[in-house]
């Protein structure tokens, strides 16, 4: 088993390739690093020169097929989750204090982040024929979670050309190949993943304090504030990292009862410390 780790999209990316060490596997790892860099240069809201930043600045832009595709995935996810997943949470994240790459966010500050409210559910129009995106004035896009999921899905497709593989970036993970991949859920069970992807969303990381109040990065679009969920963390198994990411975020915001009724394969860690398996995971 070959392993390769590098830093991209604000997190450590881990690649596992179930083949003997070779020049081809090293070349494949280098290709994946380039792919993450390419996608980050398009989708990051923290890079002023990225295409997403240009769109957020201009409000209307003729975008690349790649950005158009990620936007379509995000808008479909918003529709399916009835707004629980929303790419227009950008301003709510900034208002809460997540206004720069997370390593640079002050862990504690006097300013009151929760006082600044921002609207979500903004209008986004896409003319797919010419690739023109127009944002409703006052709204901006964030592709943080779905962008990483998309990068993992693209990377695992590419790496699979070299052999059975696993790609993990922060909470998003996908596998390919005819074998079982044992994936540990932090403080929980180990899942044998035969195919598909896993995503974990929660408020146990990427959190900070403003004016004495603890805040985190999972915004509830219905309030424009960090979600007040009775769950601490949700791990979802799905067909792709994008789908798992969307479902994990949506179930987290919906809370324990809805997550148990949804029928989605998931491991839930509740705020009071219980670990629950649901959706057929046993």
């Amino acid at each position: 088993m070959e392993q390769h780790v590098f830093h991209a999209m604000g997190t450590d990316v881990e690649l596992l390739l179930d083949t003997p060490p070779s020049a081809e596997s090293r070349e494949a790892f280098a290709t994946i690093e380039s792919e993450f860099e390419r996608l980050e240069a398009i989708l990051s809201r923290f890079r002023p020169e990225s295409e997403l930043s240009a769109l957020n600045r201009e409000g209307t832009l003729d975008v690349s097929l790649e950005l158009q595709h990620v936007l379509e995935l995000a808008l479909e996810a918003r529709e399916r989750t009835r707004g629980r997943f929303d790419p227009t949470v950008h301003d709510a994240l900034v208002a809460a204090g997540y206004d720069r790459s997370f390593e640079l966010v002050a862990p504690d500050a006097d300013s009151n982040g929760s006082a600044a409210l921002a609207r979500c559910g903004g209008g986004v129009s896409l003319d797919a024929a010419i690739g023109r995106v127009a944002l409703e004035p006052g709204f901006h896009l964030d592709f943080g979670g779905i962008g990483k999921g998309y990068a993992v899905d693209q990377a695992v497709q590419l790496l699979a050309l070299a052999g059975p593989c696993l790609v993990s970036a922060g909470g998003d993970l996908a596998v390919r190949g005819n074998r079982t991949w044992p994936v540990g859920v932090e403080d929980g069970p180990t899942l044998g993943l035969d195919r598909g992807a896993i995503a974990t969303s929660g408020r146990d990381r990427r959190r900070w304090r403003r004016g004495g109040e603890e805040l985190h990065h999972l915004i509830d679009p219905s309030t424009g504030r960090p979600a007040a969920s009775d769950l601490l963390r949700v791990t979802v198994v799905a067909g792709s990292a994008v789908e798992a990411e969307v479902l994990a975020k949506s179930l987290f915001i919906g809370g324990e009862r809805e997550a148990l009724e949804a029928g989605v394969p998931a491991v839930l860690l509740t705020a009071d410390g219980r670990t629950l398996l649901t959706g057929g995971i046993a």
Binding site: M1, T11, L16, L65, H69, E72, L73, E76, A77, R80, T81, G145, K148, D153, Q157, L158, L166, S168, G170, G171, D172, T180, W181, P182, V183, G184, V185, E186, T190, L191, G192, L193, D194, R195, G196, I198, A199, T200, S201, G202, R203, D204, R205, R233, V236, V237, A238, G239, V242, E243, E245, L247, S250, A262, G263, V264, P265, L277, I281, A282
Partner: protein
């Protein structure tokens, strides 16, 4: 015996056959291509197919609702984990 002209024709034809065969073998048409443009094209096709697959997933999800999106397969195992999934 054979006329000198026929002998010259025969030698020329044999030389032509030899060089054409040599060129065909030297081209190694059975070997995998290393043309960077073709490799880039293959990668582009592969990416577009991945994009199409994602679009299909999206359409299936929209048609089938949240619960039918989950097409990954996992179960609890006692194997030592190869990696740990944590909050992103």
């Amino acid at each position: 015996m054979t006329s000198p002209l026929a002998r010259i024709y025969a030698i020329a034809l044999a030389s032509l056959v030899f060089f054409v065969s040599w060129a065909l073998i030297a081209a190694r048409p059975w070997a995998p291509t290393t043309n960077p443009q073709l490799l880039a094209l293959a990668q582009q096709v592969q990416q577009q197919s991945a994009a199409l697959q994602q679009q299909q997933l999206g359409k299936q999800g929209r048609a089938g609702g949240t619960t039918q999106l989950a097409s990954g397969r996992a179960r609890v195992v006692t194997l030592p984990p190869l990696t740990i999934t944590k909050t992103s």
